[in-house]
């Protein structure tokens, strides 16, 4: 890894912190990685990606069913918020919290769908960033 490449990757991760995408929990994950477990961060981020994809699909199914099962929705969001918080995905965590408040308030379906679409977009962008960050950890 040349010096320029290293600096680039450090800058990338730093910007994720600066922009509030990642929080201190991500640093905790990095600290758990060592020579004996060199791929821990990448593994757990990959797990998060798979798990979140499943949750998003379930959320969409729930949103598309009639009547909407708000309790199930809340359940999924609780799980989602939990795992994103464990990873240090700060923005996703707070988005989930907001989303849950809307669900709790029983807000209009259209509004919830809109929020969900926004969250999904942010999550996709986030995964791209996380993918880069995870790769940076293992090199």
């Amino acid at each position: 890894m040349d010096r320029y490449g290293m600096q680039n990757q450090i800058a990338c991760i730093r910007s994720l912190f600066d922009q509030g995408y990642l929080d201190e929990q991500f640093i905790q994950l990095e600290e758990l990685q060592d020579d004996a477990n060199p791929n821990f961060v990448q593994e757990i981020v990959t797990l998060f990606y798979t798990d979140s994809t499943r949750l998003i699909q379930n959320i969409e199914l729930t949103l598309n069913s009639r009547p909407i099962n708000f309790s199930k929705l809340d359940d999924y969001m609780h799980q989602f918020k939990g795992s994103s918080s464990s990873i240090g995905a700060k923005k996703v965590t707070s988005e989930c919290a907001v989303f849950r408040q809307y669900c709790a308030a029983g807000n209009a379906e259209a509004y919830i769908k809109q929020e969900h679409a926004i969250l999904r977009k942010k999550l996709e962008f986030y995964f791209q960033m996380m993918g880069q960050a995870a790769v940076a950890q293992t090199t």
Binding site: Q25, Q28, L29, E31, L32, D34, N37, F40, E43, I44, L47, F48, D51, H78, Q79, K81, G82, S83, S85, S86, I87, G88
Partner: protein, 185 residues
């Protein structure tokens, strides 16, 4: 010659219970980094199964353990020996919010069990609800940790384990002396 109980004093066995795959991976790494041996399961009922307790009747666990020949269970007689040999569980750390049996339900069942009530139980939760926390502590939990759990939290666990281990040492010494006497030495 009496039977020497061979044990690695630093190796504690923690049973971790969490329905979240990510949190299970995280707690496993945290515990292993702190030199604990870990078994991670995804539900309260799997935890009870691992301990050899029947789900339905944690009170009457002696009968259940004798019935339960398939599982990796310990009968109440061998229980103490297994703990001494370090094959037993020295601490249970469980998530609070789980489908079916909550961490609180699991805590109650463990505390009702004659074989396992002395195993320290720690509860984790992503939600900071004071009434929940005090209820768990009042009903026997040693600690209540807020998620995400960190290395500093796991370091808090060791004193509870050492306390439990020295209880084992006291009773195991009694057992050893008994064996020495009866073996005719």
């Amino acid at each position: 010659m009496g039977m020497a109980i061979d044990r690695d004093d630093t190796q504690f066995h923690v049973l971790a219970v969490d329905d979240s795959l990510i949190d299970r991976k995280l707690i496993e790494r945290l515990l292993k980094t702190s030199s604990f041996q870990v078994t991670a399961v995804d539900s309260g009922s799997k935890a009870l199964e691992f301990l050899g307790l029947n789900n339905n009747d944690a009170d009457d666990d002696e009968e259940d353990e004798q019935r339960d020949s398939n599982t990796e269970s310990v009968s109440s007689d061998e229980d103490q020996d297994h703990q001494d040999l370090g094959l037993g569980v020295n601490l249970i750390i469980t998530d609070y919010c789980m489908p079916g049996m909550t961490g609180y339900d699991l805590l109650k069942k463990i505390k009702k069990s004659s074989s396992f009530k002395d195993i320290p139980v720690v509860i984790m939760s992503s939600e900071n609800i004071p009434s929940r926390i005090s209820r768990c502590l009042e009903d026997g939990a040693e600690e209540f940790l807020l998620k995400p759990v960190q290395l500093s939290d796991v370091n808090k666990l060791r004193p509870h384990l050492v306390k439990g281990r020295s209880k084992d040492i006291d009773s195991s010494h009694k057992t050893t002396s008994t064996r020495l006497i009866t073996s005719g030495n």
